[in-house]
Symmetry: C2
DNA sequence: TCTTTACGTAAAGTTTGTTTTACTTTTGAG
DNA sequence: CTCAAAAGTAAAACAAACTTTACGTAAAGA
């Protein structure tokens, strides 16, 4: 799975720490997500999508190997 | 978080086992999701949404305590 | 240059997702 | 009613998410 987090943060002018605080996780969690270190839970992706006012599918994408 | 999985399965006339096989998890995983035993990963919710041809947000819902 | 802010990263530890096996209960068709 | 399919459940084991602490680097401004 890939994601657009970095771009969305840029659009909304937020740091990793801002986003982390906003959705209630650690900054390292946001960083690890952006670097594709792991797949977040559905609660996290729903929260992030809600924060950015976009569907989950426009921020997180399945890849062939998923 | 809540979800509509049972309803969606009914609409598509699928058993838990059908859905499990289709997205590559065990039947117990589907069952546990329906019974709100845990929060699935974003890869799973994306796959399920794709299978049912609906946005993730129409199948999985944040609740106040999320 | 010194300091601050943002980002990257890593290790250890806790929590939670997911599988496997296996058994019970419910439901629907015949 | 009876049998089979579907759903519910549970425990043990393993994998992955997530936290905390902590340190390194680069950029930008005073």
């Amino acid at each position: 799975m890939k994601n657009n987090l970095k771009v969305e943060r840029a659009i909304h002018n937020m740091t990793q720490a801002d986003l982390a605080e906003c959705i209630g996780v650690s900054r390292q969690t946001i960083n690890a997500m952006e670097k594709n270190k792991y797949v977040p839970s559905t609660v996290l992706s729903l929260k992030i999508a809600k924060r950015f006012k976009k569907p989950v599918e426009t921020i997180f994408f399945l890849e062939d190997d998923d």
